[in-house]
Structures are given as C-alpha cells and as structure tokens.
C-alpha cells in the first residue's frame, strides 16, 4: 500500500499546533510508516505539491499571503483539516479585528517600535481587514478545535483519516482546550 501524502501548513498562528503535532512523540515513528510528509514548515519542500491526501492547517487567514496559500492548498488537497482554534475560529489573531488594520499597524509599528518607526508597505504581506477562520475562505473537511489540540487528539484525527473514517472530534477536544 502506498503511503498517504500528508502536508501541514502554518498560517497566522503561534506554531503551538505544530508543537502539539510533534508531541505525538514515538507515535510519529509509527505514523512515518504510513505517511509521507510532503510539505510542512518541518520539512524542506518549497512548493506545495499536487495530490495531497490530507493537509493539517494551523492558523487563521490574516494576510494576503495566507489567503493565496490556502487557496492553493485547497486546490491541491483532498482532505483539508482546520487544526486548532486559530484555523477553526481565528482565536487570538482575531482579537485585532474589532480595532481595524490601521490602528493595529500603528500600535505595532509606530507606538510600540523604538527604532525605524514605519508601517511596512512592501515585503511584509498586507493584512486583510479581518483575521478569518479558514472555512470562511475555503471549504474545510474536518475541524479540530483546541488551543492547541492535544497530541492525542491530533493522533486520533490522523489515524481515523488514514483508516478512511471521519473523526468525531467533539469527543477529543474543544474550543480553547
């Protein structure tokens, strides 16, 4: 049996969900026999490949770059998993939303900057009006809330998907868990 092609991506999040993924510890070795990690912040691939079976997506969609990425991921992935609260409900990244982009950038780049006070116009991708959950931008197949979801929860989701079943995440995790 060929290995399942798995990817993970990291949008606007703290990487805690990826840490939790790594917390699967020795179970990662067991998984390694069944999966091929084709794209991830944890591996070297530069371009998101075609024909990905499952992508675990961490983080909210906060800037134009995130939006481009998630559109590409959706187009090339069979099962898209919103991993963690930022992906599921935009969580902490959304706390800027009530204030508006301008006020947020001013606070970050002018008020609280000691050197070189300026709001970046190039290189740094511009923020979207709101940090949004992934499912507001593209179709999401599985939701795994939690901040972060536990390693057990992630293991459960991945193994269920590998077994061809849709995981019942409510039994394993919740918002803010």
């Amino acid at each position: 049996m060929s290995k399942a092609r798995i990817a993970t991506i990291w949008l606007d999040g703290c990487s805690g969900c990826h840490m939790s993924f790594l917390d699967m510890d020795e179970r990662l070795i067991e998984l390694a026999d069944k999966i091929e990690l084709v794209y991830s912040p944890l591996v070297d691939a530069k371009e998101y490949p075609e024909n990905v079976d499952v992508c675990l997506c961490e983080g909210a969609v906060s800037n134009e770059d995130d939006l481009k990425k998630i559109l590409k991921v959706r187009a090339r992935t069979k099962i898209l998993v919103s991993l963690g609260d930022c992906a599921v409900n935009s969580n902490v990244p959304s706390m800027r939303n009530p204030f508006g982009v301008e006020a947020v950038c001013h606070r970050a780049y002018i008020e609280n900057a000691q050197l070189n006070q300026q709001i970046p116009k190039q290189v740094i991708p511009p923020l979207l009006k709101n940090a949004r959950p992934i499912h507001e931008c593209v179709k999401v197949d599985v939701f795994v809330p939690g901040c972060p979801p536990s390693a057990d929860g992630i293991y459960y989701v991945v193994t269920e998907l590998l077994a061809g079943r849709m995981p019942d995440t409510a039994s394993k995790t919740r918002f803010g868990a």
């Binding site: 409900n89 902490v92 959304s94 019942d168």
Partner: protein
C-alpha cells in the same frame, strides 16, 4: 417545615421521549426531565433564579403544540408528550450556539474561564466544532474599575443571570441591561463604572452565577475560576424560614 405552609399539589403524568414519568403540578418540563436523567441543554436557566426563557436552548417539542416550548418555563400538564432530542431540536440548538459564538469575541484560549465555561462546554457537548456564521467582531470594553471584580463584555451571552441574582437574591439590583438587539449590554447602576456603583454590595454572587468569563474575580488564573453552587442551598434555607 411549617405544616400550614404545605400546599396540596396534584400529580401529573406525562411522557418524555416516550417514557412515562410523573410530576408535581408546579414542576416544569425541565425539572421533570432532570429528575429522570433526561438531558436538556440550558444556558440562561439557573436553579434558584426565575426562569426567563432567553437562551432558547431548552426548547422541546410537545405533541399538539404548534410551537416549540421552553422547558425551563413550561409547566407540566397531564398526558403531555414531550420530545427533547429530535433532529430539528438538535439542529436548532447547534445553530443557536453558533449564533452566540459569532456574536461577540469568545476567545476561549485566553479567557479566564477556559475550562470552566458553560458556553464552551455546551459547544463540545452539542458537537459544535466550528461556527458557520460570519463573526461580528464587535468592539467591546472591559470594566475593571471594581476592586475585586471585572466585567468583560466580549464574553457576555446576555443570559441575565447576573441581573436576576443581584435583584432576586441579593436585593441590590445593581445589574440591568441597556440597549437593544446586539447592542444590548449588561450595566451597573446607570451605566457607570462598576467600581463607582453605589448599590453594589460587592457580594460577588453575579460572578459566581456567570456562565462564561464575563464576570470574574481579579487576580485569579483560569484554573482558579471555578464557581460555587450556592443558590439551591440559599433558596432552600430561605423557603424553610418562611
């Protein structure tokens, strides 16, 4: 108990989810369901406070009624046939929860009530794993002017438990609601900072009954923000003293 205070109450029999149950005539569907181990979700309801039927999670189907009825407030009747868990009800309850989550800024991960929140637990219990409605992201304030407590409107679901406990149990009526629609806000006295309220006795009952992280004690970590269940005891004591 004073025997003269005892009133004769007749007994009713009804069906909940096809099971025959009996009840006193002054009981609500919710009372009877709980006695019989039938789960009906609630958020605004709290034993010891007047039910208001605001959250709509406890709606049940009653045969012969065109409308769904709030279990917390509907009194039992003979031969009632109640269904508490139909497909429609399950769907509506999830939608109502989704509407609540989308309304304000419920960021569980940084909330002081994370792990002790009735809204959070209800979402898990009813299988709400994401919110399909667009978030409204209102800009809401935190009032930390009180010495011991604070109110974070970002977490408020307007269940009015604080309003009721303050009025009915403490007798201070410091809390009330201002505004309409999604602009509704719980306020202290005449919408002034909590710390300047003259009617507040700082008893903290409102904090104890708040189902979410809206009202909290200052200086407590989320692990410490557990709530005490004191109302049933209090009301029982008061009843017996009559």
């Amino acid at each position: 108990m004073n025997p003269s205070a005892q009133k004769t109450l007749s007994v009713k029999t009804l069906q909940i989810n096809g099971k025959d149950v009996s009840a006193r005539e002054d009981q609500t569907i919710l009372d009877v369901a709980r006695e019989n181990g039938v789960f009906i979700p609630t958020l605004c309801n709290l034993d010891g406070l007047t039910p208001v039927g605001a959250c709509r999670l406890c709606l049940v189907e009653v045969k012969g009624s065109r409308r769904l009825l709030p279990a917390c407030i509907t009194q039992v009747q003979d031969n009632m046939e109640v269904s508490t868990n139909t497909e429609t009800l399950v769907k509506y309850r999830k939608m109502i929860l989704e509407l609540l989550f989308a309304e304000r800024n419920h960021v569980c991960s940084v909330c002081v009530s994370n792990g002790h929140c009735e809204l959070q637990a209800m979402a898990q219990k009813l299988g709400v794993d994401h919110i399909r409605y667009p978030y409204l992201y209102p800009k809401l304030a935190v009032d930390a002017s009180h010495d011991r407590f604070a109110v974070d409107h970002n977490r408020c679901i307007l269940c009015q438990r604080c309003v009721r406990v303050c009025d009915e149990i403490e007798g201070a009526h410091t809390w009330d609601v201002q505004g309409r629609g999604t602009a509704s806000l719980v306020i202290t006295d005449l919408n002034q900072p909590w710390g300047t309220s003259e009617s507040c006795t700082s008893c903290g009952k409102c904090v104890q009954v708040c189902p979410t992280g809206t009202l909290f004690e200052k200086g407590r970590a989320s692990g410490e923000m557990t709530k005490r269940e004191f109302l049933p005891y209090l009301t029982l004591m008061r009843e017996e003293r009559v």
